[in-house]
Structures are given as C-alpha cells and as structure tokens.
Amino acid sequence: MLTLYGSQFTSRLLLGTARYPSPDSLKQAVESSGTEIVTVSLRRESARARTGQGFWALIEEFGCRVLPNTAGCRTAKEAIATAEMARELFNTNWIKLEVIANDDTLQPDLFGLVEAAGVLTAQGFEVLPYTTEDLSAAERLVAAGCAVLMPWAAPIGSAQGLINKEALKTLRAYFPDIPLIIDAGLGTPSHAAEAMELGYDAVLLNTAIAEAGDPAKMAQAFARAVEAGRLAFEAGLIEPRDMAQPSTPVAGTPFFKVGHAS
C-alpha cells in the first residue's frame, strides 16, 4: 500500500487531468489507469463561461482523492496564496507545491519552494513539493515539514525519462522512509517501470497519457508498468555483472571433458 500523510492507496499512479482531447477521454483515462489520486489546478473563472463549475462536476464523478497544484506560481507568496485558495476550493489540506524558476525548463525554484513549504506546513497544509533530485533541497523540505517528496525525472512534459538516474537512486537511498513520487518528465511506460524498480513509491503522470494517440489505452499501459516495476522492486532485482554466467547448470554437461575449451 502507498501511504501519503496517513491515507492509504492501492494504486501507485497519480494522474494529471490536463491536456486531454476531451472530458470524456480524461474520464476514460482515469478509469483505465485505476488511479486513486488526480491532480487539478485553479484558474481565473469567467462570469460568462463558468468553465470551472462544469469541470468540478466531472472531477467529483471520478471519486478520486484530489491533489491541487500551485502550477505557474513564480514566488513563495503567490504559491502560498494559491494554496490557500485551493484548500478552500477543494476542501483538502493536500497541496502539490510548485514554485517555478524558469519558463524553458519549468525547473522548481528550490529556495522559494522551501520557504513556501515551511509557511504552509505551519498553516496545517500537507505539502507534496514538486522538487528536483537535489539532496540538500530535499533535506530542507523534510526539515520544513514535508512528509512526501516529488522529484522530477526530467522537465515537465519533456518525456525524457529519468535523466539523472544515479541522483534519484541516491535520493531513494538517503530517504528510505519518506514516500518519494516521481513527478514530471516521464514519456513511456518503461520509464515508469524504471522509476518503480528503483524503489520509488509512485509516479505522477499527465502529458505522456493525455497526449497519447489513445489516452485510455496508454493509461492502462502505464498502470501495468507501474505495477510491474513495483513488483520487481519488492521481489529484489539481481545485480548487473560484467561477465557471463551460465544459467543452465554446468554439472553433467554431455561431451564435457576437463580442459576442453568451450
């Protein structure tokens, strides 16, 4: 079971709700992914279009736990005010905290992130910070009260997979008891499986599913990959070797002679 701030989940796939071709394709992807947690945002509401009201009705149908984000916030102050609005809007203490440093990479601003995490934790929020693989930032976030960390694999929407795998392994080893969720940058189910094989607790996906030719089918593919990777981690992977080692027993090989070159 995946445990996040005391809540337990069977699925280890968190799903973003943006960029789907239609509300119906989002709904189908949510269903076929088996996800129990969906991410949402908040945006300016027009008095005429009232777009958000219809979207909320759709989200409620899913019956999933809702994880609001602070996407697009550039400063700790903006992120804090956005989190406060999200708490009231979605009636949850959970917040996927994003403070963005740069438009090209959408890299987290780790300084603003740590600052906002501390303020929000003190206000009773349960913060899930979108961070990098940086170990010192992770330590600061944990010290600020974060009981979950969500490092990126690669820049948001880039589909590059685990571009700094060794650092992600280090982070996993350094925080054995903190739930770690890979958030952003995964492109293929094999990327998700790789993250899970490293012992990551879950993955958060959006673009790779939403922009697939068939989002519902891709959601299913990712769900299976996440499950396969988790099973592999629990089963215990063998270590890579430089040289071959016969899998078939050597003893009793027919025609075997001592000193016979193989």
């Binding site: 908040l42 300016r44 509401e45």
Partner: protein, 65 residues
Amino acid sequence: MQILLNGELHATDAQNLYELCTKLGFADARVATAVNGSFIAAAARGATKLTEADEVEIVAPRQGG
C-alpha cells in the same frame, strides 16, 4: 469604481467582495478569492471592502498536472 478583476479592468459599484461575487453570479459557485495578492476566505468576503484599483482574483477548479 474601477478594479482589476482577474487581470482586466472592471467597473463596479460593489462595496465589498461578497457583493462583487454576487453581482457576477458567483454567489453559490465553487470559487475562491484573493484581493491584492492575499487569500480572502469565503466567510470574510462580506467584511472585505473594495476600493479603487484593488486587484481581485476569482478562481475555480481547472485541469492540472
């Protein structure tokens, strides 16, 4: 009075944030609000007076990653 509503100039005679929300048809809508960069809880909208050039944000649930 002119305020900035969701980043756009907006003329209103609403005295407070609650009145503004009501005039916009958001009385029972699922929205959250901020004035001049600070969150204003739903219960505090009536006590939040609006003045010229205030920057008001009214937000609602939306797709997100």
